[in-house]
Amino acid sequence: MNFLKKRKGLFSIIAVFTLLLVFFVVRLVFAVSSSYTGFGKSVSVPLRSDVHTAGWNNSEVRKLQKDIFLLEQLRVLAQSDSISMVIDLSDSTVQLQLKGMELFHTKILRKYPGVFLDDLSQEAYRRFAQITCIGNEKANLSKKPVKKIQAFQKETIGSGAETANLQNAPVNWSFVTGNNVCVVITGVKLNQDSTFIMHPTYDLIKYFTRNFFNEIFPETYSPVLYLWLNDNDARAIYRAVPLEGKILFRN
């Protein structure tokens, strides 16, 4: 009895440690298996044609092939009547396009991972960089900041506008594209001396914690691209892109 009493602390340490380890290992197994099962609907479906990707290993040829593919996709986008979004990771820009016209572009201030899916096979790249749709959108602002007003009881237009113009929390916008890439956009505000106030580590911890609680044992996986953009620009992009709008990646 005395022996057990003395070792009580040790036993509890081993028990808790084992529990935590088992939890972690089970979660890791689920995570790895979700990465594999996600391939079915992802950009990474391995195809036999990958064997004959002439020149894909040559960086010059690969760049040319990517350029050609982008131009072909832009031509298709140019025939669309709606505003679409182009995320160019090689240039670190996000663009808005309408009828092929570049309406606006903004610099990506930071991205995580620093290099996102850079070594895709040719077939996987074509799936990644083809025109797809934005889905499963979540954001902390509305597409249309509508204020309802009853006739004869309304405030003046000027004061209504002032409330509409108030800038509140930075944009936080996430979506999953049709080719199973999750994009998380965070707005970065400017401070008084025109420098960006950015806390990417804090933001990442926040997102990772949220993901952890959303899916403790993950069953599905989408590679996540975290982008930090100028808050005003992120707001403009969010408001301009219609629901289920088109999106195009370039890597």
Partner: protein, 226 residues
């Protein structure tokens, strides 16, 4: 002495547990997503095999030609004329382009997103539409033909169509450019509100910008609103 030992012992125990829990949290938060991404990335790049066919110089130059041809085609397809205007309704700014160069930019006012409800049957949303428009008509000294909502907004009953009280001079500035469906680019008496979302859907500019845009854009010129 005994107290210090006890204190150190409990401190070490607390430190150990904080360390274990911290390691556990960090592993779950960072290591698991990292492993997922690494597995995914490894799988997606795993099919890159050594090329079985080499690309000749001729094929390379053909690819370059194809890229150039596609660029030219895209340029032709997206040619918006000599001059066009791009309006950002979120930040209430505009950019005027001439020969693909920005020649003027500044603030404007766009729709307030006020949803005015007169009764259960009648309501209006004061929103600037997004998309690509062409200038249908150019006017000097425009006269505002007040629609019903202008009266309802002021708490007045709308007069019959064509009634003299429906016509107001001097409130739209010196020039107006018609985008169709009742939407105009025009001036305003309330210049201090330029840069704010205060309009009923039209695009308001200050007098100098309006004059410049009026003189630069022609009937048929494109206006992109996003």
């Amino acid at each position: 002495m005994w107290n210090i030992r006890k204190y150190l012992h409990s401190f070490a125990r607390m430190f150990f547990w904080v360390f274990v829990l911290g390691l556990f949290v960090a592993a779950n938060l960072f290591l698991v997503p990292f492993v997922q991404y690494s597995v995914y990335r490894g799988k997606s790049s795993g099919n890159i095999l050594p090329d079985t066919v080499r690309v000749s110089e001729r094929e390379l130059s053909q690819m370059k030609q194809k890229a150039e041809m596609l660029k030219r085609k895209l340029h032709r397809l997206t040619f918006a004329g000599d001059a066009f205007l791009i309006v950002n309704t979120t930040n209430n700014t505009f950019r005027l382009y001439q020969n693909r160069q920005v020649v003027r930019s500044g603030l404007c006012s766009t729709g307030s997103f006020i949803h005015l409800e007169a009764d259960s049957l009648q309501s209006w949303l004061f929103e600037t539409p997004k998309g690509v428009f062409t200038i249908k008509n150019k006017m000097t000294d425009p006269v505002w033909r007040k629609p019903d909502w202008a009266f309802i907004e002021e708490g007045l009953p709308p007069p019959p169509p064509g009634h003299p009280s429906r016509y107001e001079r001097g409130v739209l500035g010196d020039y107006a450019l018609d985008l169709g469906k009742g939407y105009l680019i025009h001036g305003t008496l309330y210049q201090r509100l330029i840069g704010q979302p205060v309009t009923h859907g039209c695009i308001r500019l200050n007098d100098q910008d309006l004059e410049h845009i009026y003189k630069t854009l022609q009937v048929g010129s494109k206006v992109y609103i996003y």
